[in-house]
Symmetry: C2
Subunit: 666 residues, 2 copies
């Protein structure tokens, strides 16, 4: 039924519950569903059934079925409502050869059984400190999986997991506690993931304890394939009415997980029994359940007999109280972590639809309007307002939004302007020509169907207005275009934008890297992508990369650049680097900026997503490591491209040599 009605958090609305290996899995499932949960996490084999490997038995030894029949549930139930749990006695890296042998055989058997049931996911015990053999078996199995995911159980904190709370199959927690104490559990995950070569179906279920680790330690998981969070009943505290409740930090972390589509799974036995006088519906109302839900709650009153119901209600409360998603977030949802190739505005003509999308960004154009407005006021004193006409050239006018913004600025500033709208795309020129009539631009606006780098202007401009910036500032050839257009800018003329700077930071993003890897070639690893970063974690504050200023009156203009950036990665504990996120901040005019650089991001502007520069191989960044990154902006006769490499803490190859995989055509 879901934790609430909102659908903007994807699968996160479906909560699960960890159940013991009971006599009847049907009853377990039915009871969990009635209680409100949407799936159960159930052992695949009785957790105490430690069986010898078949190879260790004399030939012909009778072997009973190792677990119960798949006929107990329908295929739809197995695949939609059950997550399997691998036996926690399994220790493939045990010092005991017999336990190793039996563990390997049992692990292969249980994973095979889970795949046979077409489960969506199977939960695996936490890796011990040395887990190479464990990794080998997972890696092998991953190679043959069609759809099933593996969720490796990782304790959120290094401290020993809480003692098993009476559940029959909680041995896994104890196991993790003994063998991983003092080792950052993230490191265990990280080694397993590297050994399995970052397999896209190897994921994490994070097991919360009563104490949560430091904030940025938790945040590392934002860039990792975190699929679910395991919340033991033992981490709940009791409020004064006898109900289970979570600490503020737990609540915040859970909310953050929900927002990122991470599911929650409750584990352990009920440890709270609210007094009977606190009627369920009353309890619900007390926490702000709305009327409709309270009514539903009352209708299912008999089912409140399930002692886990109070926990489900609390989880549902957390889920529902998260603030509504903003309209912009809803619009962007479909673009989250979706890799797009950057535009090639010079080579290709944009489509009508692309113009439409960009034109919708009201913030962007009102900021341009403000920049033109201020510039007009600065250039033309009040006393010349009537007598002097400012010549404004919009280079790359598209379907006219900057023309319109400039005209609005002129009206507001009470300054006369004459506008040349230069546009090379013949299709956009059609729109401009129609707007000339429809919007009454005649007499003020001249439409010029030409490439700004070649057009012979009939007069010189006071102001050159352009919107040629890409996500990384200069990556859509704004420098080259404006250098070409500044021929017809007066010596005291102004370019809007006046300058722009790109920024970079290293990030963890398992998803983006794997999406690049899926193409299975080098080219895609040497291409930057425009992407709405979502499941990612920045590893250090951004740093400036390249700056361009316009007009550029240098004797010989050189738009190549190189930068050597040093990042001090402050994340508590180690992290993994999958590449770099890039942004820009543009100074349109004086202190009027357009920015997608996180610290100064222009509010409500959606025209640009960040850029992502991948690395061919992710690398491990030990705690406190310094990273040294090189970025180059290179130029050939017909193209511009970036190259990048890391030289600390290790040296990678230089990506995209000579622009072999990615370039922007001039």
């Amino acid at each position: 039924m879901g934790l609430g009605k909102r659908i903007d958090f994807g699968d996160a609305k479906y909560a699960g519950v960890d159940v013991p290996f009971s006599c009847s899995i049907q009853d377990s499932l039915e009871s969990a569903l009635l209680c409100g949960f949407d799936f159960i996490m159930s052992p695949l084999v009785h957790p105490r059934y430690r069986r010898p490997a078949p190879s260790a038995l004399p030939r012909g030894t009778f072997q009973p079925p190792f677990t119960r029949s798949d006929l107990l549930l329908t295929s739809a139930q197995w695949s939609g409502q059950v997550v399997g749990k691998v036996s926690s006695w399994i220790d493939c890296d045990s010092a005991s050869p017999a336990l190793r042998r039996d563990s390997q055989a049992a692990l292969v058997q249980e994973l095979g059984w889970a795949a046979h049931l077409s489960l969506q996911a199977v939960v695996l015990p936490p890796p011990p400190q040395h887990a190479a053999n464990y990794a080998r078996i997972l890696n092998h199995t991953l190679g043959g999986l069609a759809t099933m995911s593996m969720w490796v159980r990782i304790p959120a904190a290094a401290a020993p997991a809480p003692a098993p709370s009476g559940g029959g199959d909680n041995g896994g927690g104890g196991h993790a506690g003994t063998s991983t104490a003092c080792v950052d559990p993230w490191e265990l995950w990280n080694q397993l993931r590297f050994l399995c070569h970052h397999h896209p179906r190897l994921a994490v279920v994070l097991e919360l304890g009563a104490d949560l680790p430091a904030e940025d330690n938790l945040h590392r998981w934002r860039g990792e394939p975190l699929k679910a969070v395991l919340v033991p009943t033992s981490v709940f505290t009791t409020n004064k009415r006898g109900y289970p409740t979570l600490s503020k930090r737990h609540q915040d972390f859970l909310s953050d997980c929900f927002r990122r589509g991470v599911q929650v799974v409750l584990s352990g036995n009920a440890q709270h029994a609210p007094p009977p006088e606190a009627a369920p519906s009353g309890g619900a109302a007390a926490r702000g359940l709305d009327g409709a839900v309270a009514a539903v709650a009352a209708a299912v009153a008999p089912l409140q007999a399930n002692p886990l119901r109070v926990y489900w209600e609390y989880l549902s409360y957390i889920f529902r109280k998260i603030e509504a998603t903003s309209e912009q977030e809803v619009l962007e949802m479909g673009y989250r972590d979706f890799l797009q190739s950057p535009l090639q505005p010079l080579q290709d003509n944009l489509e009508s639809q692309t113009y439409e999308t960009f034109e919708r960004d009201g913030t962007k154009y009102s900021t341009y309007e403000e920049a033109v407005y201020r510039c007009l006021l600065d250039r033309v004193p009040q006393e010349e307002a009537e007598s002097r006409t400012t010549v404004l050239m919009v280079v790359g006018a598209g379907r006219g939004p900057l023309v319109a913004a400039s005209l609005r600025a002129s009206v507001r500033a009470k300054r006369q302007i004459r506008v040349f709208a230069v546009e090379k795309n013949p299709n956009a020129v059609v729109t401009l020509q129609n707007r000339l009539v429809a919007d009454g631009w005649q007499g003020t606006v001249t439409i010029v169907p030409a490439d700004m780098r070649e057009w012979q202007a009939p007069e010189q401009a006071d102001i050159l207005v352009s919107e040629l910036l890409g996500s990384f500032g200069d990556n859509e050839l704004s420098p080259e275009c404006l250098d070409g257009a500044q021929r017809f800018l007066r010596p005291d003329g102004v370019s809007i934008p006046q300058a722009y700077t790109s920024y970079l930071q290293p990030i963890t993003s398992h998803k983006l890297w794997n999406d690049v890897r899926a193409h299975d070639d080098i080219e895609h690893f040497e291409t930057p992508y425009v992407v709405k970063l979502f499941k990612f974690h920045p590893l250090a504050p951004t740093q400036e990369v390249f700056t361009f200023e316009h007009p550029n009156r240098d004797h010989c203009i050189d738009n190549t650049r190189s930068a050597c950036l040093r990042f001090d990665c402050t994340t508590a504990g180690g992290a993994v680097c999958h590449g770099f996120a890039g942004y820009f901040d543009a100074q349109l005019y004086e202190d009027v900026h357009l920015s997608i650089h996180p610290p100064t991001h222009t509010p409500n502007m959606f025209s640009w997503f960040p850029i992502y520069f991948p690395l061919r191989l992710p690398f491990h960044l030990p705690q406190g490591a310094r990273m040294e990154v090189h970025m180059w902006r290179c130029e050939g006769q017909h193209k511009v491209w970036y190259e990048w490499a890391v030289t600390e803490p290790l040296t990678t190859c230089i990506h995209n040599p000579g622009g072999r995989s990615y370039y922007v055509g001039l």
Copy 2:
């Protein structure tokens, strides 16, 4: 003309000489050739011609030719007798933007010119400590090279290179001295090489100083693409007759280089002028030049006017005095660093030629003979020598060498034997049947055309003799075959071999890794190769991996294995690991061993080369690092394979999961 007549060191016989940018390159070349050298190393452009980048010049600026004409020499001379030298003022990573810009343009220009001349190689200045931009330009150029190699000049020791000794173009040495002091020059090379992604045409010319670094520091270069050694005249000392001579360590290092096909290039001005009374031919004779060469030397006496002649003579003397290559080394020369796929003796039938090669290994069969001899003596006391016949089964008899060895052992031991020769290859059986008659085996030998795992033996054997070992011991399925054959071994019977152990060690081997990489797929990186290791450097002593004993009377035989090996890499300075070398040591009987494990290698045995397990990506091993390696021997229903991974100092993926790229069919 070459340093000597021997041709077993390949190109090493051709020595070069560093020449200044003289007025006439023809004269320089002619003089060098007359002096004995085979090529010159010449600046491509006048070393003091620091020119501004064309992009920094106003348009239309007249630019003179940047260097002399290519018509001065023939194409054959340029490509066969000239190695180009890039200007040493070039510093692409300079803090000065102007110098960076000019350097980049000049480097691209000079490399382009060298490629235009079809030079075999171009010598590059030593990389400064931060050389990312330098690497970027090399990397880009490497991508477009057809045949030319780049030799990066690397000082052998961290100390500043000797001051330029009057040569006009020796600025490079000073440059290296100032910017690389205290940094291990190997690290500079290593970073450059990683940035250029281990390009096969990026190589090293090592510049010797008066002081050589520690022995194992020098030995690191054995696994690197070392193409030439630069010997400045300043490192020569003077003997009591006034002739130049080198220290013992320099001599040894040069000899080692010659043996590995590394060329020598003399640099600097003559600093030794032997007194006229010591006539040239006398000087040569004093150092043991043979009569013929002395005669030649006398014939060219007028040319001795060249003051570098005494150095050439000394180099020639070092070259010629290296001990003769052994017959076995000559035989193996063609196999050096040549990757071969291991045999699949069960799946494929060996060819006649393969049998012939193996049968030539007299040492191997006399060792087998000794093992059988000792075993016969141990099993049959003198008093039963006449009355008791030992049943000996040769499983995998091939064309009969082990049958013959066993018969010789029986004669020597004066013990009666009856031999069953079991062979599954029907073609080899033809040879056996012919030998039965030709070698008089009738009555003693029974030929059994069958697979030893299926044959129903008519009686039980006392001794099972086999030669099923691969380079890594168990890698040609000896364990599986012998387990299948031991059914017909008496309970007190003996297997020859009784046991075998594999060994592993991490190595540097740029060549092998690049040859694997040339296939451009993952499969080849997940395959072990049989290879006569030559240009390699072991990074730590070997460690035991897997041991098998025969017969194996275990209740349930398990031939899977796993090993976690920890290597303490003791190389002075850092090193790079390209994978692992594997060996075996087999106990044939008691203390009779066959071994290719370096510390115990059976002398003069050539049947097995080591095995090489590659890594998908080489990694840098800092000085004193510990390495942790996992090896698995895995078994499926129809195949056996290895998997391997590194978990310290970094974690690699597990290679060959599930035997996807390489396996041996059962």
